[in-house]
Symmetry: D2
Subunit: 279 residues, 4 copies
């Protein structure tokens, strides 16, 4: 499939569909969006590989001229490529467990070669699934060293996507810049409400009637990255902070999984600090 | 804008966008869907009239050849045409009032030349808004006559869309067939649960924890028409039937309005007994 | 019914139910909540007036001793008392229209003797319903004078509750203090996200996937008052600011109505900056 | 805590709180509901064991007289008793995995001594958690024998609650009657819509815009038992049956967990075919 963004002008859809037609491509899905305010065109187009007259490796060369004509940012993905995920965790297991369940059952056709944690607690659980667990404790002094070590491990394992499954450390640019728009975090509030630490305590103090969770790409600014998915659950005056945490955990794992799944299917494009989601 | 459905084959998007390009049409929105099971292609394409080289009345003739080549069902709409709505009511006013509010505030750019009712109760309210109110009482004997009278009135007033705003009569084919897929009903349950009369009583008896409302096209089969919009609200053992009715009324008016708004924007296509919604 | 809050201790429920029993009161609803963190007890108890051995005016005197024993804050309400609402509006009509609909249909058993606005636009609509419309234009110079005028009008009309139906002025303490916890505002965001002006623009800029509305008591701090009701609706990258505004209007009117309805039924207690809701 | 239901009459709350007061019980939560239609009184009352002047085993004897006076159905539970859960599964692992995660993380303070399945597939996963897995294949001939075997195992393991985690067999009265209102099933539709097999296929065929899941007590009538929890998720014409199944799995596990958690906390009462939920 192709993911394209470029300045909007007449003829883009016609040109791209013409390219596919010329090589006998049968379109399965075509999603298109124009940001009328910024005059930017976005498209995701998926076609059948069977019957297509170009080999996989020939497509980029053949498409280049058209891409340059329209000044496209573009990416080519094949849906049968198995992506490799690394999960970062701290002590809480609910998001990790949910990710492992989707992997085990085959719901997500991925490989999980690596789990990294700043605490040793979840090591036995992870290793029980036959997955490598790296304990990288982080202090003010060791942070830079450990993040570089993490980047090495991610490269070594050819990781495509990092999932921060309630990893309670702020990532520095060392890690962020190593995987641009390939690190997904779950924040346990309805962003932009309750940025930063202890959002459930803040929600309790404010007396809100709904709490939320937000799946977003991690960027250098804490909790400010492009939002991919959000959802909410109702709460009441009866709910203590502990009850908010408990209700929130179910949200966190479901919203994180939705964000990861959209990424795995290549159904989103980032533009500025926002996402275009073709769902 | 064009709404198209046809058997799926290679080249449809390319052909339609080529047609627009040839006449200097700038695409604003393109939504496309392929029903892979039934092999049917659906598309809604909206372009700027400004700059388009064909006059409105010339478009059908120019498009015909292409439409025939792909065996298309197609409809052409212009977004600046003011549509004319007739509302059918009985005694309950909440949906009618909501529709009138959207009309009065200009939220819906429509005309409402006519309200028809089988009860006289809401006449003063309607006339207070300067809208014609026709009282057409219905009994087993008079039903056929009154429905023919209603069809006459709808034709006379050049009504594009009929909104059944909690009209408590089952329409016969006389009316249904006069406006195919142009009559929208609100059913006060989450279809297909609780078809027919008294769904709130049935929901209470079953002890459900959520109730719903469904906006759908009226067809000859009661509550079986293509579903356009649905939504739900939580209820509990504390809610009496009266409380379900009260909570449900808010749902009914919102869901009915969503269904009508999708229709007014020509953002839906009916295929078989289902809707394709380009939202 | 009685609404009670007091320091928690053993025996409160027993004492209050004993008082009712002694006077042959049949309890219909009893809702109780203990804030374990602050050790505060809250109760709402509703009983049948029929058969109760005390006359309405005798109840306060008879209850006083018990109330003092437990240091209670308490309020006595009778559900058959018709409450009087004043609505404040600016130019937008959707919330006002929704309130009027609930009044007209009898859904809310209230009187609406007065609508106040800083713009003349909605005068004809309001007067068409036989309701007094007061145009009180507000500038930096006239604000204090006009708010005192408003307070006078509210007193004159014996208004129990003020509903700010998208009134686009910040109230000063003159008004706020005149009706403590009897002014309900609708804020067009999911508080505490997007406090202040233009929340839909801010939501669009941040790229959120859900927008919300919040019904709360107005206090001296803008958008910081006790939250009564909140709800949300999903949005996507396709939604322009105008579309967020349109979707948000449906939320605003429904959430405002829920908050007002809870207040009218005396189903909420304010403690600190939070609400206890007995729903 | 005490769970009580009885014919409604004056003085029940006063009598029960008087009983607790007499023995120095400090009430933590009191939830009460009167079904005005059927004139039935329901109450859940939770108090601190610390300071209570009766020993656990003395409470039933001391309470009996009062219970008989009001013809109460009543149950006494202690929140520190660890309940024992058995899980029934077939081939799908998502609900089982979710239950195991809540057990492993300590979110649910329970023991899981036993998993029973009519397929061997999930055996290795279960045993990996150190839990006994019993493979009881079921055919028309062996059903009665295997269910009696299951009942034996449940008794042997002193199981308090059976969780049907997408167990694809209809239970016969042998099992149902052995654990009245102690078997919780998850049905993958919004009951009463789409009773029986293949609800996602039926939802797809009907073209609904929302799908749901229902957690309920299993009874002799398939999918007719008292509903404990329900939730929904939006779907569209784009969703194939496979996509409905995928979206539905997240719902199923969350709704099942909510129903089980309510049961584990003794926060529900069954009356007729409905539940009273004190949440």
């Amino acid at each position: 499939m192709l993911l394209i963004s470029c300045p909007d002008q007449r003829g883009i859809v016609n040109a791209v569909t013409g390219f596919l037609l010329q090589h006998h491509g049968n379109i399965l899905y075509l999603d298109q969006h124009v940001d009328l305010e910024q005059n930017v065109f976005f498209m995701r187009i998926e076609w059948e590989v069977a019957g297509f007259s170009l080999k996989r490796e020939e497509i980029p060369g053949a498409f280049r001229a058209l891409a340059e004509q329209f000044s496209m940012n573009w990416r080519l993905h094949f849906s049968d490529v198995v992506q490799r995920i690394a999960v970062f965790v701290s002590k809480q297991s609910h998001c990790l467990f949910d990710v492992l369940g989707r992997f085990e059952s085959g719901e997500w056709p991925v490989q999980i070669p690596l789990v990294i944690s700043n605490h040793p607690d979840l090591g036995p659980l992870v290793r029980n699934f036959g997955i490598r667990f790296e304990y990288l404790p982080v202090s003010a002094e060791t942070k830079a060293v450990q993040e570089r070590r993490a980047v090495e491990l991610l490269r070594e394992q050819q990781v495509d996507l990092v999932v921060l499954a309630r990893y309670m450390q702020i990532l520095s640019p060392v890690l962020i810049d190593a995987l641009p728009h390939r690190i997904i975090n779950i924040h346990h509030s309805f962003l932009p409400a309750f940025v930063g630490a202890k959002p459930y305590h803040a929600a309790y103090a404010r007396g809100v009637k709904i709490i939320g969770a937000t799946g977003h790409y991690a960027t250098a600014d804490l909790d400010q990255g492009p939002i991919i998915a959000q959802d909410i659950i109702r709460v009441s005056h009866k709910d203590s902070v502990e009850e908010l945490v408990r209700k929130g955990q179910d949200l966190e794992k479901i919203v994180l999984a939705r964000a990861v799944w959209l990424h795995l299917q290549h159904k989103l494009l980032v533009h500025g600090n926002k996402t275009v989601i073709f769902d």
